[in-house]
Symmetry: C2
Subunit: 415 residues, 2 copies
Amino acid sequence: MRVLTTPDTELAGHLLRAPLAIDEQALDAIERGADRVLADIGIRFQDADTIDALRTTGAAVTGDIVRLDGPELRRLIRENAPASFTLRARNSDRDTLIGGGAPVFAPIYGAPDVLLEHGGRVKGSRALYHHLVAEAHAAPALSNTGQMICVMDDVTEPSRPLEMLLAHLKFSDKPFMGNIASPAAAAGVIALTRTALARPDALGECNLLHLLNGTPPLTYWENPLKCLRVITENGEANMISSYMMMGATGPATAAGALIQGYAEVLAGLALTQIWRPGAPVVMGILGWPFDMQKMVPGFGDPISQSIQFHAAALGRRLGIPVRADGAVTSAKVDDGQAGAEGGRILAAASASGADFVLHAAGWLEQGRCVSIEKLRRDAAAISWATLGHNEPCEPPQPLDTAIEAELLGRISAVA
Amino acid sequence: MRVLTTPDTELAGHLLRAPLAIDEQALDAIERGADRVLADIGIRFQDADTIDALRTTGAAVTGDIVRLDGPELRRLIRENAPASFTLRARNSDRDTLIGGGAPVFAPIYGAPDVLLEHGGRVKGSRALYHHLVAEAHAAPALSNTGQMICVMDDVTEPSRPLEMLLAHLKFSDKPFMGNIASPAAAAGVIALTRTALARPDALGECNLLHLLNGTPPLTYWENPLKCLRVITENGEANMISSYMMMGATGPATAAGALIQGYAEVLAGLALTQIWRPGAPVVMGILGWPFDMQKMVPGFGDPISQSIQFHAAALGRRLGIPVRADGAVTSAKVDDGQAGAEGGRILAAASASGADFVLHAAGWLEQGRCVSIEKLRRDAAAISWATLGHNEPCEPPQPLDTAIEAELLGRISAVA
């Protein structure tokens, strides 16, 4: 907000954020519901090492279904996971504290298509990716340039993780997100980022945050589980989310979705603390109603705001940072629908007290398209709201040529 | 929200609303600031009867400036004003409880112009007013058809209060708002509404809610003060608001605006309880940044969300219902800007726990224009969000022909 001075210094700082107090009985009921789901139904883990690790929590294993003890999972998280952590940048002036009070905003993640400035729609490409990272870097409110802002359709799949890494390092010196294409890709990007940032290990600090989703309902696939372990053991951060299509991969009601989603993320969050007590994590429970006629999720539906308010309160109970989504919408162009849906969801993200807002800028059409103009407009609105200005960030410090050469060499070896 | 059933009955009802807990120290500081403004600067009241009445609170009078005792004003409000009251309709099935947990939504109030369905923009008229009341009636989420949805430019000023009354009575049987053109107009509309509703006086119930604004900074004009007294003494309700243009008629900072606005509404709210202890009232503090280059307020600016969150908490401290604004915007058409601004403000209104949301539907261009299509779209979005459907309301019960004849007779006598 634009509150830079106040007539009463006692008020300074109070006006920036309105933390939500949700009815504690509702949260108790969600906890009890999730505990029942964990104990009676269990979670499917498609990875043998994970299942072995979970046995230590008193879990009962039947094939790949693990029945879990909710209170024990919460104890593991509460006693070990940090309330906040620093996500570092190549330029240490741009380090961000996740869970420090002010939310971090990152652009859309995962768009196959790009809407160009004068309306043409094309597949994502390397050149567009470079442009999008530069746009995200310039936007003062986006303190994280994210990951996979668009898909690089003109680049072979194996080289995309390194191509994206190079783009985030070269066209920005802000923090960004890690890669989860495979455990090897995650580990490779982690190692190269460590080299590029050239900063010593420090308690409470890491270099990369990874988007690590379960696969609702009540399942974790093999790749995310193996990535989660690699990321955690390397000291990097995970954002463990349940991203439910309500009525399809999650219950149709908000209460049901919260219960399923909380059960799912409790399992994933506890796993990080088993692999490495104290591992930095962020929690997200997100639910979007699924339209069975159109076979698409209804991004922007107000029920999602209620889920976000409760998810944030559940995260605060666990004592860990919480994720939200930003200006998401089902609209195909940046029209009244896009504005109204995105505006409502973004306002709820902010009011919920979220610490990391993904998809904050550029999102169109259920996330299938990133609009360059909308990315700029969304980011400008957030900049005005949170900083009181929209002055572009200084250009990034030049990337060390040896780092760039090494990355280019590895990319040509993979491609 | 669309939560009609839950898998856990303990949760039912909890998910509909997320009440905000604002830092109590911030509210204390606003109270102290407002008390200082009331005691040291005072409020200008342009009405001798009002000034005499305020002397009973220990006020110090200098000309038309009255220095007031904030704690005493709060005591008057807390000890006398009801936490909720029923606003009655011609059809008693459509009565609404103001302050009962679920917000009441009403359309835009005060638009000179109307944007027609296919883009033409015209002055408001009697025929358009009839159409707009019918639209508001049909919208299931709008449980109040408001007042002055547009200006009737083709009707003489003296007959507008009765013309609007007739429209709200004939084209709807929902509750609506009273008129404040003059004390005589207010009293006339109150008396005729009582006749039309034909319902006996009942404790905790009234027929009309009136939009009663101070004139910031720190002033109440003669007409609203005389209206306030007439309305209150007739047992009808007032919505006492401070509607500030921040940087013009109020401080530029949120903290300053809250302090000035709270001082203003404390005076107006206490006045209602002096004229008639127990009088039903609603409180509103609204601030919009004023653009000194364009000389227009910036509707949709996010600082207003922060003001709304704090205003709602201050209202809860007083134990009375609170107002908010809905989908307001500075945009001239229902585009991405209109959506984003209105969506954010509406989401904040809802999350703040507001009891009455004015300007919830149809607003364009700083409120200078009501769009028929946007009214329908805004109302549809709220209907889906709050009711889970957008089925049009049943047509109104026919208005008693004797009532209609009497109103038409009075209108021709005035015109």
